[in-house]
């Protein structure tokens, strides 16, 4: 187990390092280089040269990479000249909010999708199964922003149940101060996950329900409900754990769109506004942080997987 953890963590570290190389390459793909990105198109060549010298951009690329890597490791992601604030402090304000949004959506996804998938598997090829399958196909194909807009039209405009805008203000506090305003963003973000997760849960339960151990448990007099909750569920959840890890990039991307619909001031909205203003330091910082978060999430999922499923541990 310890060897597995070590090997897997080492792999994650390598991936993070490659990510930093990617982001470093992106930084140097900026039109006119970082100097033009900061000083603007009208800067004179001598100003650009001065900026490059001042910031060490005239040194060899490899040396620059290690300097940059050192800055990133120390939490220094540069300075947003558009927002006149360091990228690190911007992200510190926004990241917790996005994490809360994602966690709530993930929680809702699991709470809805797992029982739904189990029920579909038990009642497979009945009317309800077909209905749920049809709905999840449509939800899966629907762009998040369309779902969000439809939610806005119905629940905010027509029924006036929920406010159209997510809680504003700094920090995580306002989110819990205005739970009603969080309903639409969380539900919208969860829709996509529910569609995918319930499909996986359904097929995962179906895979297990015909196994010998289920028949044995039934033969020993275990009620079908007990077999389902005590035996099948535990095994069927294994692929779902991996799926949660793998769905992190989608979740971040979905959060970007959801945040832009409901004006939720998280990382996604920060990134979107930075993309519109060509605020490169912010963009690169957010890309780096989401990528690292994704790698860590996948690593955690793999570790959970190994903890739940002894076959993985022994095989490794």
């Amino acid at each position: 187990m310890i060897r597995f953890l070590l090997r897997r963590s080492l792999q994650a570290v390598v991936v993070v390092l490659v990510v930093t190389v990617d982001v470093f390459v992106l930084l140097h793909q900026l039109p006119g280089g970082p100097a033009r990105a900061v000083l603007g198109a009208r800067a004179t060549p001598s100003q650009v040269a001065f900026f490059n010298h001042q910031n060490g951009l005239d040194r060899p690329l490899v040396a620059q990479y290690f300097t940059t890597l050192g800055h990133w490791a120390g939490g220094n992601f540069g300075f947003s000249y558009t927002l006149n604030q360091s990228v690190g402090s911007l992200m510190m304000q926004r990241l917790p909010k996005t994490l809360v949004l994602n966690l709530l959506a993930l929680l809702l996804t699991i709470v809805v999708a797992v029982p739904l998938g189990i029920y579909q598997a038990v009642r497979r090829n009945k009317a309800f199964d077909y209905l749920a399958t049809g709905v999840s196909f449509v939800l899966y194909a629907a762009p998040v922003f369309f779902l969000g807009v439809v939610m806005l039209v119905f629940f905010s405009q027509e029924l006036n149940l929920f406010p159209p805008e997510a809680p504003q203000g700094d920090g995580v506090g306002p989110i819990f101060a205005e739970p009603r305003a969080m309903v639409l963003p969380v539900v919208t973000l969860a829709f996509l996950g529910i569609a995918g997760f319930s499909r996986y849960m359904r097929s995962s339960v179906l895979d297990n329900i015909n196994q010998d151990y289920v028949r044995t448990a039934r033969a020993k007099g275990c009620s079908s409900g007990r077999v389902l909750t005590r035996h099948v569920l535990r095994n069927a959840m294994i692929p779902i754990v991996t799926l949660i890890g793998l769905s992190l990039p989608t979740l971040f991307a979905g959060a970007l769109v959801t945040e832009s619909i409901f004006n939720f001031p998280g990382m996604g909205l920060l990134f979107w506004q930075a993309a519109q203003d060509s605020d490169y330091p912010v963009e690169l910082g957010v890309v780096l942080v989401t990528a690292v978060a994704t790698v860590i999430g996948t690593l955690l999922a793999d570790i959970c997987y190994a903890v739940i499923d002894p076959r993985v541990r022994l095989g490794a």
Partner: protein, 314 residues
């Protein structure tokens, strides 16, 4: 037939009959069916897949032939006729805030979405297949390095990478296709690498090698046809993903520059009119995206069944 081992017989048969399925040689009864026929039969039995194909066909006709039948001006604005309700004699689906006819705009926007979707999926599949195949066959340190690159790029959420790239280059359709294609090749790369790793050690490939066949022959005649199924199925899902991604970019206002448009940009525009309740600017593009993506996914599912059955019956 000479009394030789089956593997040689298979090899000769494949030579003489080209694409025909050679595995039935050893079976006691039944006419040999081509792999393609077998797959096509299974595909046609899947009713949803056929419906999906039909919807896709209608969408293609609507977007590419439609403008020749239903003429609209999608270049000049007409502010006198802005945000007309549906049901006008000249504008059955109303107009948007610039006076563009909504039905005609749906056709033009669909052209962008479909063109970009299919072309980007093609590029992604091509690049991904090459990358995965090289990694899988060369193996060793090269393989690890290439796959860590894939891992690292996969860790960056596609939408973020895409948004960053389109802020560097102002996108027209060709650029958009390249950018989308070059961010979406990761999944096929992983798939093809995995497939080629398993196929390389399969008995029939080893048999070719033992028989003195070159590795080029093993790859071209035996491994590629087997990978092709997986790749094609994945390409279908890539089309669906690319159509959604271009819609996201359009929605976020960083898609193709006006007056060109796509379904996502149309919907984005419609969201400004949620409160005056101009539903005809919101639902048509949204429903169009869903219909096409669902259709493509159905076709992909049907193809997957077809490929799997073909492989099983070999």
């Amino acid at each position: 037939m000479r009394p030789v081992t089956t593997a040689v017989a298979v090899g000769e048969n494949a030579d003489s009959e080209g694409g025909h399925d050679a595995s039935t040689v050893g079976l006691p009864s039944g006419k040999p069916k081509s792999m393609f026929r077998l797959g096509a039969e299974v595909f046609l039995q899947n009713r949803l897949a056929v419906v999906g194909l039909g919807v896709l066909g209608v969408a293609l006709l609507f977007c590419f032939v439609g403008p020749f039948v239903y003429h609209t001006n999608q270049i000049n604005t007409d502010l006198m006729a802005s945000t007309l309700r549906p049901g006008q004699p000249n504008h059955p689906l109303g107009t948007d805030q610039s006076g563009y006819d909504e039905l005609g705009r749906l056709m033009v926007g669909g052209q962008t979405s479909l063109e970009v979707g299919f072309a980007a999926a093609f590029i992604a599949t091509l690049v991904g297949t090459l990358w995965g195949a090289v990694a899988g066959f060369v193996g060793g340190a090269v393989d690890s390095l290439m796959m860590r690159v894939v891992d690292a790029l996969l860790a960056i959420p596609t939408l973020f990478l895409l948004l960053f790239l389109v802020t560097i280059v102002r996108p027209d359709i060709e650029v958009m296709i390249c950018v989308l294609g070059l961010t979406a090749w990761l999944v096929p790369a992983r798939l093809v690498r995995g497939e080629s790793l398993t196929l390389r050690v399969r008995e029939y490939v080893q048999a070719v090698r033992v028989m003195g066949g070159s590795s080029r022959r093993a790859v071209v005649r035996h491994i590629l046809p087997n990978v092709a199924g997986t790749v094609i199925v994945n390409a279908t899902f890539q089309v669906a993903d690319a159509i959604l991604l271009i819609a996201y970019l359009g929605y976020l206002g960083l898609g193709i520059s006006p007056p060109a448009t796509d379904w996502g940009a149309m919907l984005s525009n419609g969201t400004n009119y949620i409160f005056p309740n101009y539903w005809w600017l919101i639902y048509p593009p949204g429903v169009a995206i869903i219909l096409v993506v669902v259709a493509v996914n159905f076709v992909g599912d049907g193809l997957r069944d077809a490929v799997e059955v073909r492989l099983q019956r070999r």
